[in-house]
Structures are given as structure tokens and as C-alpha cells.
Amino acid sequence: MSTRPSALPLFHRAVLRTVQHVVPLMEREEFLRSWKAELWHMHNCVPRRRLSALRLHIDLPLGVVSDAFWLRTHSLRRSLSGTPSLCLGFLLGLSLLSFAFAVLSYGGWRGLSIHLGTQAEHCLVAVPIVLFVSSAIASFSHVELSSIPHTLRWINHLLFAALKTSLALVLTFLLSVCLSRPLYIPLPHAADLLQILFFVLFALLAVRWSFYDQEQRCKHCLCSLTTPARVGRPSHNLLEWTGTEQTCKEGHGRLSVPEMETSWHQYSRWIDQTASFDHVASA
């Protein structure tokens, strides 16, 4: 008659009980099941002479821990990837890093603050010009919305765009300060000029990126759109639909971008994923 498999030794049970809290709740049961099976196999099916104490008491618990941490970081990566908070956090992190580098290269906060004051004034004058030029030369693709956007959603959209652009500008300013630093002692005037030139150049790129990034985000949750898919054939440019479609990973909708502003759509079109569409898709 079959009996239940014997239990694991106390040490391994304790390791599993402790480490399981690192694993996301959704995957915890499967994690425990996998590891219980693996550990049981090692204890009961592998001859003792092939299983050293080092492997049993150090290597395997390390495996349990690293597996649990992999699941946790993977889940974090999956939930954070493309989100507006990750974008802002990344820009903020880079800005802080550049700031720390600038402080170090100027020999402390005192040295940097004297220099920053005048340079910041010059760059503040350049910012409206950069914004104006970027807006004038940006090829905004007009986006038609299939539903009227919620006011709060628009406020979020604008807030995110403003924050992202501001952080990108701060970052470009700090980068320009760091890059012009080597010339600051031998050629102070040239360094000042170079710093403004660097700032204007980087700021133009940063603002253009910011506009582009804003277009490539979901109109509901502001997550980056994913899975770009070609639609139609390029030879059908003037005949029927051809272009690219991108979808929101949360399933809020999709953005249809025509290859040319021709017969398919004149403009890019945001299509909300409504409940009725879900019903059709699942049928």
C-alpha cells in the first residue's frame, strides 16, 4: 500500500518557511512545491556519498534564496517596466548621480555652488528658447481619441510630461556642468560658453525625447506601449491600411499609427479597449 512521502529535515523546512516570504504571493505555492520536491529527491534518492554536507547545508539553501530573490525581482521588473514612476525614478536617479559627480569634480558643494549660480541663470534663459524650438520642429503625430479623455487623466498626462521634461532638463544641465569642468581652470570663459552650448544641445535632444516618449504611452495609465506590430503591406500605402499598432500592456487600448497620413487614417488613432471588444476577442 502507498504511504505519504516522508517529511523534509527540520533545517530545510525552516529555510523554506523563512524564504517563502520573499516570493510574490501568486508564485509562492508553486515555489514551495518545486523546492519541496527537489529537496525531498536529494534527501531520499541521492546516495549520501554523492551529497556533501557543504552542498546540503550551504549550496542548496543558497539556491532556495537566490531562486526566491529571482522571482521577486522578476515580478518587480514586470510590474514596473514601462511605468511612469520608473521613468521619473530613473531620471531622478541619473540626476542625483550627475549631481554627486559634479560635487566631486568641483571639490565639494561650496565650489560647485559658486559656479552653479551664474550658469543656472544662463541656462534658465535658454530653457524657454529650447522648449519653443523643440515644439516648433517636433513632428507631433496628431492622435485622435476614440473616447473623450477624462479631465483627471489629462491632468495626470500633463503633470507627468511636465515632471519628465523638467527632470530631463535638470539632468542635461548637470551633465553640461560636468562635461565643461576640465576647461574651467585653464579657460574659464571658454568653459562657460561650452557649458551653455552643451546644455542647449542636450536639452534639445532631451525635450524631443520627452515629446516622443509621451506619444508612445497609454492614454489611460501612461505606461509605455509595447508589442509594436506591422499592419498591412507597405505596397498598399495608398490603397488600404498599412502602419504599426502598439498596445498597452494593461489592455487599456491600442495606438494605430499609419505609415503615411493617407487613406487608412489621416492621423494616429488611439482606440480604447472597451468591454464590448473584450467580449468579441474572447468569443
Partner: protein, 101 residues
């Protein structure tokens, strides 16, 4: 699409699975890699759809008086990747013997 470039340890694990070493400890033992490398690598390979896992049926496991095991096997992409990895790391084929069941 060209098969993905794999690290040496990922290629070793993939090769081991292709030779019939189909669960975690089996792979760990034959490759000599530490468990902290093998188990996360198996998860990465599964995420990248190079391997897939299936659980042994509870009935089979119960009749053998042990918990059900999680078995790994190569997908079609995984087989292509294992082949490409063997060409890239020719010693892999000599390092790992085929499993005799």
C-alpha cells in the same frame, strides 16, 4: 529569427536538458553548477520560452511514495538554441554524457 546568444552556464544547462536531465537536481549534479545558478537560470530559460516545465501527475508520484516532480523539456526554440550553443561551445558535447534511464 536567429537563436539567442546564451551564456556558458545557460548553454550548459540547456544542453543537459537536451540530453535527458530533466529536473533541477539532475541538472545541477551533471553540470556541477551551484544551485544558486541552476534554479534561477531554469526560470530565465522558461521565461524566454527555451524550456517548458510540466508537473508529474500526483497519482504517479503518490504511487512512488514521493512528491510530484517538476520536469523540464526543451521547446522548439530551445532545441535550436541548444544546437547553436553546441556549435558555439564545442566542448559542451564532450562535457556532458547522455542520460541512461
Amino acid at each position: 529569427m536567429s537563436p539567442p546568444r546564451l551564456s556558458h552556464s545557460a548553454a550548459l544547462i540547456l544542453k543537459a536538458i537536451s540530453l535527458g536531465y530533466c529536473f533541477g537536481f539532475d541538472v545541477m549534479e551533471i553540470t556541477g553548477l551551484p544551485s544558486g545558478t541552476v534554479y534561477p537560470a531554469l526560470r530565465r530559460l522558461e521565461r524566454d520560452e527555451l524550456v517548458e516545465s510540466r508537473w508529474e501527475s500526483e497519482d504517479d508520484a503518490f504511487s512512488n511514495q514521493r512528491p510530484a516532480r517538476r520536469y523540464y523539456q526543451l521547446t522548439r526554440e530551445g532545441k535550436a538554441a541548444a544546437l547553436a550553443a553546441t556549435e558555439r561551445y564545442p566542448l559542451l558535447a564532450r562535457l556532458l554524457p547522455e542520460k541512461h534511464s
